[in-house]
């Protein structure tokens, strides 16, 4: 799908409080510029992100879902990020069956010191989502409308 004119993707971002959330904070305090498309949600660990939240975000009209976790070996709870990684692998297999492009889900390792990297990754994700276009009704099995209403009538 070609880029939609004036389309601003909405991204739900689950950020681990120990690393990615702090990284996002650092990007802010360092006055780094990145697109305002993300809605950050602070979670105690990326391993706390229930796959149901991811699907729910898409069902309610998110164009992208971002999960930020600690670098391998750095998880505050030892292995939460590894579990998340495997969940994301499975979710990316499931999403196309639901009519959702797997690229709309993105997992990144971002540490508390990587404000620069956070800004960069978000910028990149927004650009990619703009190319994908909005997650909307049509061939979409879930038929989600822009205002989050699920469309039954056609």
């Amino acid at each position: 799908m070609a880029s939609v004119n004036g389309f601003e993707p909405r991204i739900v971002a689950f950020l681990c409080r120990w690393c990615s959330y702090a990284g996002a904070d650092l990007a802010g305090t360092s006055r780094l510029k990145y697109p305002p498309n993300i809605i950050p949600i602070r979670v105690p660990c990326s391993g706390r992100v229930d796959p149901q939240w991811v699907l729910e975000a898409f069902e309610r009209g998110a164009d992208g879902v971002f999960i930020g976790g600690c670098h391998p070996g750095d998880c505050h709870y030892v292995s939460g990020n590894y579990k998340t990684r495997r969940r994301v692998v499975l979710l990316k297999k499931l999403l196309p069956q639901l009519g959702i492009e797997p690229e709309r889900l993105r997992l990144e390792w971002i540490s508390a010191t990587e404000g620069q990297r956070f800004a960069q990754v978000v910028t990149e994700f927004v650009r990619e989502l703009k190319e994908l276009g909005p997650i909307v009704a049509g061939g979409d099995a879930l038929r989600v409308t822009r205002d989050g209403q699920v469309q039954i009538e056609r």
Binding site: D50, S79, Y82, V89, L90, A141, L142, R154
Partner: protein, 330 residues
């Protein structure tokens, strides 16, 4: 209802007015394979007793009856109506509403009425797409050329939905089809005048694993995922540990772990436990936790991916009976 002190009454309101009175029963199929209607025979000889203690007022699979017969009944005159099958057509929805009006209690019987069942996997696509795929371009279920509107087939609804999407459901007898122990549980309650307070699901709250006889080990992990036709599983060990995707951890017990006992992984026909909620995401999480090697870390990522890659059909595996209920929002 008679006075609560009566010996034939239980603490809950019962659809059976008196223990010796025969409850009026209706059984109806909507978008169904017919298996649910046959499933009653699962209880064996007990079916003879059950049939002698109910009055069948409407059951198209067994007794000749027309919709007009049903329409002629006074409202609330049926004690219990068991409806099996998914709600797929306009007619399915009309009949469900008609039965609701004529019955004191509605029972969603079987996985399709309960959660959408296998037919609701079609909800991956819209109605139009299904028509295009099956009948080619331009097909509509209109009347045959020259005939009037009466002769038209009932139209498909936009989605195949569980019964609770069109009428209030009081009880659920789950399963694909419901297994004997749960059919007995239901009729035992009905004929014993001990129906629980609705809404109630006639299956366990606890997971299937609790009643499964297979041995589970501590610190279990999965180093491979296999499909039932690819292995002859060890007869003692938990199937999930052997790499077969068994929905036991997220599925209600009540069938005595019928499938794992026979060497087949549970596909989740009794529906998820209240704790699991969405069976698909719950099982996905469980699987993601189990798939790992002796240690974890970056060097294991490719190996883990290789294992997960072998899961052939996540949607069909995780939502075999529940797609209409869980992934298709109302």
């Amino acid at each position: 209802m008679s006075s609560p002190t009566s010996l034939t009454e239980t603490r809950h309101s019962s659809p059976v007015p008196r223990r010796d009175a025969k409850p009026k029963l209706a059984v109806y199929w909507t978008g169904s394979c017919g298996g649910c209607d046959v499933s009653f025979l699962e209880v064996g000889e007990a079916i003879v007793e059950v049939l002698s203690r109910v009055e069948i007022v409407f059951w198209p699979a067994l007794v000749d009856a027309k919709r007009s017969d049903l329409e002629a009944l006074p409202p609330g005159s049926i004690d219990v109506a068991l409806i099996n099958g998914v709600i797929r057509t306009e007619e399915n929805a009309e009949m469900a509403k008609l039965l609701r009006a004529k019955s004191k209690y509605i029972v969603a019987y079987g996985a399709c009425a309960h959660l959408g069942g296998v037919p609701s996997l079609a909800d991956r696509w819209g109605k139009e797409e299904i028509f295009r795929e099956v009948f080619g371009k331009g097909f509509r279920p209109g009347p045959p050329p020259g005939a009037n509107g009466e002769a038209a087939l009932p139209d498909l609804l936009d989605a195949a939905v569980p019964l609770e999407d069109v009428v209030r459901v009081d009880y659920v007898v789950p399963g694909c089809p419901p297994p004997a122990p749960l059919i007995s549980r239901f009729f035992g309650a009905l004929l014993g005048g001990e129906m629980p307070e609705p809404p109630h699901v006639f299956a366990n709250v606890k997971a299937l694993c609790e009643e499964c006889q297979r041995v589970r080990h501590d610190d279990r992990r999965i180093e491979r995922i296999v499909r039932p036709h690819e292995v002859l599983p060890d007869p003692e060990t938990c199937l999930l540990e052997q790499g077969l995707i068994c929905m036991g951890p997220v599925t209600r017990g009540g069938c005595n772990a019928l499938c794992p006992a026979a060497g087949m992984p549970c596909t989740g026909c009794l529906g998820p436990t209240p704790e699991a909620g969405d069976p698909g995401t719950a099982m996905l999480s469980a699987l993601a936790s189990l798939v790992r090697f002796e240690d974890e870390g970056e060097e294991y990522f490719p190996k883990e991916d290789g294992v997960l890659e072998a899961l052939a059909d996540p949607l069909g595996t995780f939502y075999m009976y529940s797609f209409g209920r869980f992934r298709r929002k109302r």
